[in-house]
Symmetry: C2
Amino acid sequence: METEYTGKSAVPPPTAEAPPVAAAKGTFNYSVVEVALRVLLFAATLSSVVVMVTSKQTELVPVTSMPTVRVPIPAKFNHSPAFIYFIAALSVTGLYSIITILASVSVVLKPTYSKSFLLFFAFLDVVFVGIVASATGAAGAVAYIGLKGNSHVGWTKICGVYDKFCRHIGSSVALALFAAILLVLLSMMSAFTLYKKIRD
Amino acid sequence: METEYTGKSAVPPPTAEAPPVAAAKGTFNYSVVEVALRVLLFAATLSSVVVMVTSKQTELVPVTSMPTVRVPIPAKFNHSPAFIYFIAALSVTGLYSIITILASVSVVLKPTYSKSFLLFFAFLDVVFVGIVASATGAAGAVAYIGLKGNSHVGWTKICGVYDKFCRHIGSSVALALFAAILLVLLSMMSAFTLYKKIRD
């Protein structure tokens, strides 16, 4: 489709081959990229939640009072309020991404909606940047204590014992960071599309 | 100044008293609010950093091996990597807010710059929403463990001993949350001003 090249229409060739209708449909190109990024966002949030929820690991841990006795103690994400907040935040972002995928597809099919949707996206994307970034920070900070411990206050590291648990938590936080970066990009794209509409 | 009322110019009175030049300066009103919000942002980030840095508290803590012996042990923000990240993130945001205050003032004085500055603000504000929100999340998560402990992994709470330290950390995190909300509002305002320029 020739409308894929409208991003370069700032320097039009001198021939009559560049149709003016392509310049008028300048948002179409961006909308397709936006749908793709939002699908990627949904995939990132969903896999982040799934990886976090499936992190449960049970290990035989020696009891402090009797070092010869070992009892099975599980490590689960819901032992930490930060991880519970993380799951809640990423789940809400996943639901939001489904809604915005549908909205973006409707913009691709019917570009007349685009102006109000752009504002709607620009507003809500920023809120979700905040939500996902704070969840990533909270889960990452707790995971870091689990990995390294904190000798100043005597918090012991647990990743020596719960290796699978820590791997899952780490992957989940990395996916959430990726989701936060995607949201920042989407938010910038909404602002840039609005800006482009003024300039044109 | 009569330009303060241009926000209501969507319903102009039928008399000739409403000057058309006020409608043309529709962004002026927003720019003044933006400068005010950015000054508030600078105040919030600066006080957040100062409160966090001044949180040092030294207490006599009993030694684990000999409970009758008490040694003075300090609690400082730089005992936790999350708090160091918090200080770095909030300091950078404070510097950014100084730059954007100057830029906003220049828009108020010379509105011709406004379009490119709006895009610049819309882009960078979102990035700083992410930075401040993640720092708030990280510091908040560590502070919550300090306040409540975590019985599942044997991390003891420390706020019973270090009361002043915890008060400072809590206030600092609250100020950072306020700064993050201010950045979300500023970011929404940039998007809305861009949207308004299209609609007009």
